[in-house]
C-alpha cells in the first residue's frame, strides 16, 4: 500500500510533527516502503487467528484501590516552565 504526500502531511499535523518541505517526499517514499512490508504480512492467512493485543503471552496484574501517591506538587512542578496558583500554565487553547 502506498501513501501519498497529502496523507503524510495530515498525519504529521495530527501527530504535531514538523516535516520540512524538502523532506516530505523522502518520508512519503520511506513510509510507503514500510507499508509494502506490511502488505507482505497481510498476505498471510489469519482466518482462525484471534487478533493479538500484546506480544507477551501474559495477563495484566492489577493493584488494590489504596492511595499510595501523596501530594508531590512541588517536586513535579519544579521542571514546569510556568506555574501559577498551583496550576501549570500553557499557551491558551480553546476548543
Amino acid at each position: 500500500m502506498a501513501v501519498d504526500r497529502g496523507t503524510i502531511e495530515k498525519l504529521a499535523e495530527l501527530a504535531r510533527i514538523q516535516i520540512s518541505e524538502a523532506n516530505i517526499d523522502d518520508v512519503t517514499t520511506s513510509i510507503s516502503e514500510i507499508l509494502g512490508l506490511v502488505d507482505q504480512l497481510q498476505a498471510a492467512n489469519t482466518d482462525n487467528v484471534a487478533p493479538m493485543a500484546h506480544p507477551l503471552d501474559a495477563v495484566q496484574r492489577l493493584r488494590a484501590d489504596q492511595v499510595t501517591e501523596n501530594n508531590q506538587r512541588e517536586d513535579l512542578q519544579a521542571c514546569a516552565p510556568e506555574v501559577e496558583d498551583g496550576l501549570f500554565l500553557v499557551p491558551q487553547v480553546i476548543d
Binding site: K10, L14, A15, R16, P51, A53, H54, L56, A58, V59, Q60, R61, L62, R63, A64, D65, Q66, V67, T68, E69, N71, Q72, R73, L76, Q77, E82, E84, D85, G86, L87, F88, L89, V90, P91, Q92, V93, I94, D95
Partner: protein, 483 residues
C-alpha cells in the same frame, strides 16, 4: 411535515474508587490544584500504568446489573489527540474489547408505559484534567487532579425518540449507578456527564437523518432543554431547505443556545491502537460470579418490593426506590413507625419540601429517620392530628427535640377525652342556635354537609387539638338528639 426524533446517549460515569484507574493518587473531589496528580498522571517519562482492580469490579457490577455479557478478556487502546489537559497525548480507553458488552435497561414513561433501551456496550477509560481559560492573560491554567479518574462510558443504541425518554433513561442510569454504589451521583461535580446524539427524519422514514452530538450536559434539566433546542434547530434547518451537518455542538445553559464545536471533517482522526503498556485484563467466571453475589438490591427490584410489601402506589415506590440514601431513610422510618404509607407521605411531602427550600441534601437533613418516625407514631396513635403534626414538624426541623418533647412543651396533644370534648360540643351547640335550627329543618341528606360548621367551631375552640373523629362522633349523637 411530521418529524420524528432519534436520540442515542453516551454517558460518562466517574467511578467512586479511592484512587485513579492507573495510579495510586487520590480521586477525592475539591483538592488544591495538582496535589492529587502523581508522575503517572502527569505522563512523566519512564512511568507505567498499573490498573486499579476496583475500577474493573465496579464496571463488572454495572454490566451485571444491565444483564450484559462481561468480557473475560478486555483490552486497552490508545485514543490519540493533543490537548493540554491530557498530558500523555492519548487517552487510555477500550475500543474493540470493552469490559461490558450489550445490555438492556427498562424505562418508565409518564404514560405508564415502559420501554426497553438497548445499551451497545460500556467501556473503561480515564478522565482528562481541567483547563481554566480565564485569569491568566493569554495562558491556560491546567489542573490535573481529575486526570486518570476512572470512568465508564456507557453507549446506548439510538432507541429514544424524545427528550422525555432520554431524560428517563439518564435518570434511570443515575439511580442505578448510585444504588450500586459505583458512582457518587454528584452531577454538579461532573460525576455523570451526558453526550446526546440527535437526528430527525420525516415520520415513517426508516433511514436515519444526519446526527449531531451535543456534548457534556451535566443536569437532567439542561439535557431536556438542549434536546428541545437541537430538534427545533434541525427541523427549521431542513424545512428552510438546508441540510444538517454532522458535528459536535456545545450547549450554553445560561443563554439557552448552542454552537458548533467542530465538524466531522475537522474532527480528530484518533488513530486508535492497542496500548502496549497494558496487557489484556482477564477475569474468570468465578470472579464474575463472586461480583454478582455482592450486587445490592437494584432500584427496580426495590420498587417492586415496595409495591408488594408496603402497598405503595407505583409512583411513590418509583420515587423512593430510585435513590439509595432515600430508600434507606424510608425503610428506617417505616421500620420505626410501622406505617409505610405515612412514612412515604411525610418523606415525599414535608421532608422533601423542607430539604428543597433549605437547599439541603437528605444526608444533611436536620431531621433523621428516628425523629421523623417518632412524629409519625404520634399521628398514628391519635395523639396529634395531621395538621398539628405539621406544626410539630416545623419545630423539630429547627431544633433537636423529639416529637414527644415538642408536643409536651407546646401543649399540642390532641384532646380525645370524651368528657372534655362533649363539654366543647355542648358550648358550641349552645352558641349556635341559628345553625342548629337550620340543621333541624334541613333534609336528612343535606345534614352531613352542615356538620362542617360545628366541627370547624369546635376545632377552633380547641385550637386544632380536638380529635376530629371523636368530635364527629359526639357531635352526631348530640345533634341527632335535638331532632
Amino acid at each position: 411535515m411530521q418529524w420524528e426524533t432519534v436520540i442515542g446517549l453516551e454517558v460518562h460515569v466517574q467511578l467512586a474508587t479511592k484512587t485513579k484507574i492507573f495510579s495510586g493518587a487520590s480521586t477525592a473531589f475539591g483538592a488544591e490544584p495538582n496535589t492529587q496528580a502523581c508522575a503517572i498522571d502527569l505522563a512523566m517519562p519512564g512511568t507505567l500504568p498499573v490498573p486499579n482492580e476496583e475500577a474493573f469490579r465496579y464496571a463488572i457490577m454495572f454490566g451485571l446489573a444491565i444483564d450484559a455479557e462481561i468480557a473475560q478478556r478486555s483490552v486497552f487502546d490508545r485514543k490519540n489527540y493533543f490537548y493540554p489537559d491530557l498530558p500523555k497525548g492519548y487517552q487510555t480507553t477500550q475500543l474493540d474489547r470493552p469490559i461490558v458488552g450489550a445490555g438492556n435497561m427498562e424505562i418508565q414513561l409518564s404514560s405508564g408505559k415502559t420501554k426497553t433501551i438497548r445499551i451497545h456496550h460500556a467501556h473503561l477509560e480515564e478522565d482528562a484534567g481541567k483547563s481554566l481559560h480565564e485569569d491568566f492573560q493569554g495562558m491556560s491554567g491546567i489542573d490535573l487532579n481529575r486526570a486518570g479518574t476512572p470512568l465508564i462510558e456507557i453507549v446506548s443504541e439510538p432507541d429514544m425518540s424524545n427528550s422525555e425518554e432520554a431524560v428517563a433513561f439518564a435518570k434511570k442510569l443515575h439511580a442505578l449507578v448510585s444504588s450500586l454504589g459505583i458512582c457518587d451521583g454528584e452531577m454538579s461535580q461532573g460525576s455523570m456527564r451526558f453526550d446526546v446524539n440527535i437526528s430527525v427524519r420525516p415520520k415513517g422514514q426508516t433511514e436515519l437523518g444526519t446526527r449531531t452530538e451535543t456534548k457534556n450536559l451535566n443536569s437532567f434539566r439542561f439535557m431536556e432543554r438542549a434536546i428541545a433546542l437541537e430538534v427545533e434547530r434541525q427541523i427549521d434547518l431542513i424545512e428552510d431547505g438546508g441540510t444538517v451537518r454532522q458535528e459536535t455542538r456545545l450547549y450554553d445553559a445560561e443563554k439557552h443556545a448552542s454552537r458548533s464545536m467542530r465538524s466531522k471533517e475537522e474532527a480528530n482522526d484518533y488513530r486508535y491502537f492497542p496500548c502496549p503498556d497494558l496487557l489484556p485484563v482477564v477475569f474468570d467466571e468465578d470472579y464474575i460470579e463472586a461480583v454478582r453475589a455482592t450486587l445490592p438490591e437494584l432500584p427496580e427490584a426495590r420498587r417492586d418490593r415496595y409495591i408488594e410489601q408496603y402497598a405503595l402506589s407505583s409512583y411513590d415506590a418509583e420515587t423512593l426506590s430510585g435513590d439509595r440514601e432515600l430508600s434507606a431513610y424510608f425503610e428506617a422510618v417505616t421500620q420505626d413507625c410501622g406505617d409505610a404509607k405515612l412514612a412515604a407521605n411525610w418523606i415525599m411531602g414535608e421532608l422533601s419540601a423542607s430539604l428543597n427550600s433549605a437547599e439541603l441534601k437528605l444526608a444533611n437533613s436536620p431531621l433523621n429517620a428516628t425523629r421523623l418516625a417518632g412524629l409519625i407514631l404520634r399521628i398514628k396513635d391519635g395523639s396529634i392530628s395531621g395538621k398539628i403534626a405539621k406544626q410539630v414538624f416545623e419545630i423539630m426541623w429547627a431544633s433537636n427535640q423529639s416529637a414527644d418533647e415538642v408536643i409536651e412543651a407546646e401543649g399540642l396533644k390532641q384532646v380525645s377525652d370524651t368528657g372534655e370534648l362533649a363539654a366543647m360540643v355542648d358550648t358550641v351547640i349552645a352558641n349556635s342556635a341559628k345553625q342548629v335550627e337550620n340543621y333541624r329543618s334541613a333534609d336528612a341528606d343535606k345534614r352531613p354537609k352542615m356538620m362542617g360548621f360545628f366541627v370547624g367551631q369546635i376545632m377552633k375552640a380547641s385550637k386544632g387539638q380536638a380529635n376530629p373523629k371523636a368530635v364527629n362522633d359526639i357531635l352526631i349523637e348530640k345533634l341527632n338528639k335535638l331532632l
